[in-house]
């Protein structure tokens, strides 16, 4: 219980949510490793420059297998959002409502990421609002990419 209270103060959602692990085939290992270093990376094709997220083994545009990880600034724009009231996971029983956002990354051809919008979960969120990535370290040893409204 004590450790639970400890983590609740530091993370947007309570402890007990499933923890992300890199896939065993190594496809997204660098994404999660970079997050731990507080760097946001997106897959980019070395041959034609196409960005893609989630990562894949091939470039969907030019079909080369030569893909690398490209560091982006963490600037984002809210493409869609929702306020969740029903706890679908047992760990969320007392965490509702919370806000989920879909964020576009303008400096990576608008690929999208899903996260939470830090702050008051009761606010109405503006579409296309500018946000910035926040790296949320969890005691279990992984880091989530969260978002907050960018300072003007």
């Amino acid at each position: 219980m004590a450790s639970n209270e400890n983590t609740e103060s530091k993370t947007y959602l309570p402890a007990g949510m499933p923890a992300p692990e890199p896939t065993r085939d190594g496809l997204d290992r660098e994404f999660w490793e970079a997050a731990k270093r507080h760097e946001l990376v997106v897959q980019k094709c070395n041959s034609c420059g196409t960005f893609q997220f989630a990562p894949e083994w091939i470039c969907h545009k030019c079909h080369t297998l030569d893909l690398k990880w490209h560091r982006v600034s963490g600037a984002g724009r809210i493409y869609s959002w929702e306020r969740v009231w029903h706890p679908a996971h047992p760990a969320l029983k007392s965490a509702c409502p919370y806000i989920v956002v879909v964020v576009e990354l303008p400096d990576a051809a608008n690929v999208r990421m899903v996260g939470n919008l830090l702050g008051n979960p009761k606010i109405d969120v503006a579409f296309d609002a500018e946000v910035e990535a926040i790296f949320e370290d969890h005691p279990e040893g992984f880091t989530l990419i969260q978002w907050q409204i960018a300072p003007r």
């Binding site: 949510m17 499933p18 923890a19 999660w32 989630a54 969740v84």
Partner: protein, 389 residues
């Protein structure tokens, strides 16, 4: 159009359903429910169950085809097929695959079934407790974005923002389904009418979805017998001809973490034109439609993508009056559908589409000739179907 087509070459000849139960209320096992539905469909067609020589299903049905064939003592199984993908996306596609198998000569009489006992197995609306996850779900689940309601709400929200749509069309769709269920004694929500006030007062699941925007969770089974058009004409029921079916996905709709390039879509923009082209009809020829309601928002976008109205016409088109039988412009989900009849992954919608053609619906559209089914919008892959008298 391709010279290869299934158009009008096959027909639905038999319909079978068990009683539909609330989640967890089925008194017998899921597999037995599947067998009962198949037997009823064969009885309805007027054929012995051993005449079945093909099996097709979808959504990774747990009731394995060879176990079914063995249990029923099928003498010669010639075709088995599973439509890939989850949710209800494969319902119409499984019928299309059955028709294709018959046209190709693989089989002569194919049963399509779906059985669900969410009380005996896992729930679709709840997230299993796992300590660690990886792959596509690792990009969403840790943020509390793990259920179909949650991803379909995000896409619906964007569509509503782009096209200045209020809560009204979602409420109208939910109320139309509940209205139709009030005439259907088989429906779980029979005797439970829904007012706009009750809709508005119901709790949010995830904005913009109230409780009543969300499908039910049920136990039961349904089955459909597909055979050649020639053979169907000699059987017990009036044939329900399969005019057309389409299946698949638009560009990169499987991209994880909400990265489908066209985001606020039900995933029918490339399918619907193929469907109409095979049938040789236009949207205005459709008399009645069963549009899979995982959530009302996906019904709204499916209506748009099947050409019944433009996005900027949704507020005027998706009204209770337009969506209800017998006089609406496009009566939908006339048995109550996934929201109010039963959540049988949309196979109950295909059965209702066939009933409309037979003239036996509890909310019959007068002289219904052409009957459409849209399966599993906002998942990938998806499928759709046009039936005719």
């Amino acid at each position: 159009m391709s010279e290869f087509t299934i158009k009008d070459k096959t027909a639905i000849a038999g319909l079978g359903e068990t009683q539909y139960y609330k989640r967890g209320a089925a008194p017998v096992s899921e597999f037995r429910l599947a067998l009962e539905a198949i037997q009823r469909a064969a009885d309805d067609a007027g054929i012995p169950v051993t005449a079945i020589d093909g099996i097709a299903s979808y959504s990774n049905d747990r009731n394995d085809s060879i176990r079914v064939a063995t249990a029923l003592g099928l003498p010669e199984l010639r075709f088995t097929n599973m439509f890939w993908g989850g949710g209800g996306g494969g319902g119409s596609g499984a019928i299309g695959n059955a028709a294709a198998a018959i046209v190709a000569g693989f089989a002569t009489c194919v049963v399509v079934y779906r059985a669900l006992a969410q009380g005996q197995f896992g729930r679709f609306g709840a997230t299993p407790s796992m300590r660690t996850i990886s792959g596509p779900i690792a990009y969403t689940w840790p943020y509390g974005m793990s259920t179909p309601a949650q991803w379909i709400a995000l896409r619906t929200r964007r569509f509503m923002y782009d096209h200045h749509i209020t809560q009204d069309p979602l409420a109208a769709i939910a109320m139309a389904c509940y209205h139709h269920a009030q005439s259907n004694p088989r429906a779980i929500m029979y005797g439970r009418p829904l007012t706009r006030q009750a809709y508005d007062d119901s709790r949010w699941i995830v904005e913009p979805f109230h409780l009543y925007d969300c499908c039910l969770e049920n136990d039961g089974a349904a089955a459909v017998i597909v055979t050649s058009a020639d053979r169907a004409r000699d059987l017990k029921q009036k044939p329900v001809y399969i005019m057309a079916s389409a299946q698949g996905s638009d560009f990169r709709q499987g991209a994880a973490a909400e990265n489908g390039p066209d985001y606020a879509t039900s995933n029918f923009k490339t399918l619907a034109p193929r469907l109409y082209a095979m049938a040789g009809i236009e949207p205005r020829d459709v008399d009645v439609a069963q549009v899979y309601e995982n959530f009302t928002g996906a019904v709204m976008t499916s209506i748009v993508e099947h050409g019944f109205c433009r996005p900027d016409e949704v507020m005027d088109f998706c009204t209770f009056e337009n969506l209800t039988a017998p006089n609406g412009k496009l009566p939908i989900n006339t048995s109550g559908g996934n929201l109010a009849e039963c959540y049988m992954h949309g196979l109950e919608l295909i059965i209702e589409a066939a009933r409309q053609v037979r003239g036996t619906s509890t909310c019959q559209v007068k002289d219904a000739e052409i009957s459409m089914v849209v399966s599993g919008p906002m998942v990938a892959p998806v499928s759709d179907l046009i039936l005719r008298r």
